[in-house]
Amino acid sequence: MSNPYAKLPAWAEYGLIPLVNLVVAFLVAGLVVLLVGENPLNAAYHMINGAFGRGEYIGFTLYYATTFIFTGLSVAVAFHAGLFNIGSEGQAYIGGIGVALACLWLDKTMPWFIVLPVAIIGSAGFGALWAFLPGWLQAKRGSHIVITTIMFNFIASSIMVYLLTKVMKPLGSMATQTRTFEAGGQLPKLDWLLSIFGLNVGNAPFNVSFLLALVAAFGVWVLIWRTRFGYEMRTMGHSPSAARYAGISETRITIIVMMISGGLAGMMALNPIMGEQFRMQLDFVQGAGFVGIAVALMGRSHPAGIIPAAILFGMLYQGGAEIAFEMPSISRDMIVIIQGLVILFAGALENMFRPAIGRAFAAIGSRATAAAQTRGA
């Protein structure tokens, strides 16, 4: 499809437009807060204070952000190849099996830095496997990736309920979770990182997987903009027919991209399982895969945008808990609304303000040239 809008400077394209969309999303969310009879400014104060007011709060914010970096990258990688992976949620859930198996196997005998690589391979492997099928079905059988990944989310959830009630639960236990891991299955906290800034991490489960998320973000940047494969997948994302004429195999790209996307989603499981709860629980993903959609859209599918977007959502999750504590009528479901609004305004309605902003830039531009001409005369 041709681009019907005028070209904007990069800072407007990647900074101003997402910001405007975000501001509108928050304004609408503020209306909901008004509707339940609370003061939106107070809510915003509690949110920011709850997310950044103390070292422990910052630790929690970054803990959530870690999760969202992984799922955001997962969705973004698929976006670049023109694929919409709604299945990050299910891929992360299945990825948990890999983490749990690695920990259950090695946690008593090995230190964490041996278990972690095995868990990374396990989580990425299981996640990639769960994304392989939708990718293969899209590439070979022509079934729509959006529908299959939605279906796979539900199938994943059924499988996990089955595994956690029948197979992976310790005998005689009622709770639907694996046993608690020993020291080898517990990732160390990044308290030293925060103490550099004079902050105390407290009880926050801010752990090593945050660094892994940053490495993954860098890896994704390299993959997409610095490799031949990345070039091929972007070509396919922009124009499948151009990719076909250039001799790029759509089948290969679709399947590999989906597996990378699923692998990134699966690695998200490291953070809650090895970093916080030290066991696999029912429903540990808690919608993080869907938050990934919002994060990828807001970050414009670029790692440099995804990291701040993930921190923003980490702030919403952590600060949202604080709002729920201070204002009982605003529960954490407020975050789900904000998430939906961000997806709406940064995703589906991303072009709503573009014509107006484009006109404003054109007007400023022509006035500037006119001024330059008069000065020159």
Binding site: M1, P4, V32, L35, V36, G37, F84, I86, L137, R141, G142, S143, H144, V146, I147, T148, I150, M151, F152, F154, I155, S158, I159, V161, Y162, K166, F290, I293, L297, S329, I330, S331, D333, M334, I335, V336, I337, I338, Q339, G340, L341, I343, L344, G347, A348, L349, E350, N351, M352
Partner: protein, 323 residues
Amino acid sequence: MDLFHTIIALLESTIRVSVPLIFAALAGLFTERAGVFDIGLEGKMLGAAFAAGAVAAVSGSVMAGLLAAIVISVLLGLVHGYASITQRGSQIVSGVAINFVVAGSTVILGEAWFRQGGRTPALAGDARFQTVTFPFADAVKDVPVLGPVYSSLLSGHFVLTYFAFAMVPISWWILYRTRFGLRLRAVGENPGAVDTAGISVIWLRYRAVICAGILCGFAGAYLSLAMNAGFVKGMTAGKGYIALAALIFAKWRPVNIMLACLLFGFLDALAIRLQGNPLPLIGQVPVQLMQALPYILTVVLLAGFIGKAIPPKAGGIPYVKER
């Protein structure tokens, strides 16, 4: 005889759980046949269920509840339309967004207005749909075979249930026997041709989205005013996605949709009944397998292993008039 009664009870609950699926899948039929993908069925249904529960609880009138459900669902549909038809945004992204906004706001608003943990107050009397008993249903109950079929299976449902099944031939008639239906299907296959004929693609798609909104309104109202006595948070529990699966499974055809919804409803009813009871010959079937079966079947169908599901050609593509 015992087996017979079990089967009747099973079929009865099949009908009960199929109704929202039929409404929602028919809603999806209208939009997707017009070339607008609709992931937001779930959200529209949930929003409608909440509006119905809330308004019926406050006003005490079931009709006011139904009307509110339809209004909210149509408004959500129009948001989807504005984003995906007028602004030409991604239809899937817009649908996902609507699902989240509704999932969050029904809980927040419900808690703020009624303070019952995300529920609306329990409905009774005129605030809720009542079941309809056919004439002589009680009198013929003891007639062997036909008696229970007439009195339990056919009689004793809500008006909305009969309406849902009536909507199947009505939708077929609208889509295949009216000018509007012909144009609607054309706009999903080749919008350029429709535009050339001087018919507004935009307005046609908006009308399709409004039709879907009305049907999702019925689906939601059925959930909170008929099947249950009030709204419970997250009460659609993935039914919108099952309806989407049924729509695809039915290859975008009205009568097939009814059959697919009945099949998925039957699996649901069976899963509930089989909980803890072993099947003859097969033994214990995990409940989770039964619950996942509709999704697995849809994936297998989409993969082209049982026939081929070919979606409307222009589905998912925003229409850009030539400049």
